[in-house]
Amino acid sequence: MMRLLVPSWWTLAWDRFWFAPGSPRNLAGARITFAAYSLWVLLSRNLPEMSGLPPVFWSQVGASARWRYLDFPGHPDLERVLVWITAIALLGAIVGVLPRFSCFVSGLLLYHLAPLESLIWIPHPYARGLTISVIALLTLSFSPCGDCWAFLRPRGDQPPTQSGDYTWPIRLLQLYLVQIYFFSGYAKVMVVGWKWASASNIRSWMLRCTQNEQIRVFHALGTWIAARPLACWCVGIGTLLFEFGLVTALFSKRARWVLVPLVAVFHLGILLSMNLVFLNVPQLLVFANWDVLTAWFKSLVRHQPSREQKNALREASFPP
């Protein structure tokens, strides 16, 4: 306990967390993951058409919200061009053509485009799929994310080595994802209190989501949970424990092994019981160790894994 009072301990811990030697492959893997995911969501929406809605839909949008994102009605053609520029930049980030510049351009343009989805009634489009993409792509653009798996790199050919410069951006991306759950749990406790986890509250949410015919696609699991107080208590307490506990995945390899795959199960449960979709699940690949995955993939291709690769695979699938 005494060591916590020593400033140098905090400095060392800070450096160990943010700047431990890391692989350029992890950063490149994150770049490809976030760019591919963002491209998928961007092209799944009709964002330019939102600018072309009749002016009456935009009549209640304040000037500060419009200027904040430079989103104005009546320019669907311009927005269409911007969507194409963003898509091309994201493709550039995926294949590694000017990867940092591509990440920067796509991150900035997504900051402008993503709010179009909901701006007519709310100025912050969280939970619609592109929130983390904006800050993640910009963070990647500030880091040497093009040092590996890139066709065109701004620097010359340098053999990728382990460096702390490859770690802090990955840690930051992991933090963005973990914050979703932490703040989600925090908001529940702050707004509703610990009684959010009570059986009556969970039952009410389950019934509301399964009775609303406009969102009811799945209803069997939600109704089943709502009918069982014990199941409701488990869902409530389990949700808060999970949302607060996921922070440990930042610091503990063992927690990462257990909790990160559980995120996918958690969201599958929410989907089947409450009909709510959380698109960011593929972004969890930022927790993967791409050195190990690459070795595994190569061994699959060659059909004869080397002893080192087997050992590496056995040892860990997540970075330290």
Binding site: P115, W168, R208, I215
Partner: protein, 213 residues
């Protein structure tokens, strides 16, 4: 307005510090670069935890208030809008959520709930005419052999869904109304979750908007 200004300032701070790390960092010694990166990291921590812990949504630094609302103790949730198409015989039909594209159903319903009643009659008619046009176009598309198109034809069924799932009620031509809509009605639906768990029909509907062509 305040939150828009603060959010913009935080985002600009994030981009500025990030650019300093990316551009200036190359010209500095390793120690100075590390120091600059630390400043950037501290700025990001300050903004992101500031947004989360104060529960002020500084998007893209969000406070993530997911389901952070209390369920009403009496089981009566606030009213939820529901849009119905009306044909020339006066029959009412539910409309597939895909009809409203580019608007997502949850965005449209939230907008209706917040703003429709505040509009003057001419503006409300403008909304009604637009939504009626969208619903009739979607009805024709749903009746065609190709069906209602996906927002991105390349992705098809792999298109990213919206935050809330919605049943695709016009997936089969036999479930699509064959007559054109001549009007639209918006109802506000309320129900008590406990009562409705015993009787699914126990819903109270209040007509909030009636548009005729």
């Amino acid at each position: 307005m305040k939150i828009n200004i603060v959010s913009t300032f935080c985002f600009l701070m994030f981009v500025t510090f990030g650019l300093l790390v990316a551009v200036l960092g190359r010209l500095l010694s390793a120690t100075a670069r590390r120091r600059l990166t630390n400043v950037f990291l501290l700025a990001v921590l300050f903004i992101s935890f500031g947004a989360g812990l104060t529960q002020h949504n500084l998007w893209p630094f969000s406070s993530w208030p997911v389901l952070a609302y209390p369920a009403p103790t009496d089981g009566n949730y606030p009213a939820l809008p529901r849009i119905m198409g009306v044909d020339s015989s006066g029959n009412e039909y539910d409309i597939d959520y895909r009809a409203w594209r580019p608007l997502g159903l949850e965005e449209l319903l939230s907008w209706i709930k917040l703003h429709l009643a505040r509009l003057d009659p001419a503006a409300r008619d403008c909304v009604g005419a637009y939504l009626l046009g969208r619903s009739n176009l979607a009805r024709v598309q749903a009746l065609s052999s190709a069906g209602l198109p996906y927002p991105n034809p390349w992705f098809g069924p792999l298109t990213a869904p919206t935050h809330m799932l919605h049943p695709a009620i016009w997936s089969h031509p036999e479930s699509v109304p064959h007559n054109s809509f001549v009007g639209l009605r918006v109802y506000e639906e309320t129900w008590n979750v406990e009562e409705r768990s015993h009787d699914p029909q126990r819903v109270t509907r209040v007509l909030a908007f009636d548009y005729r062509q």
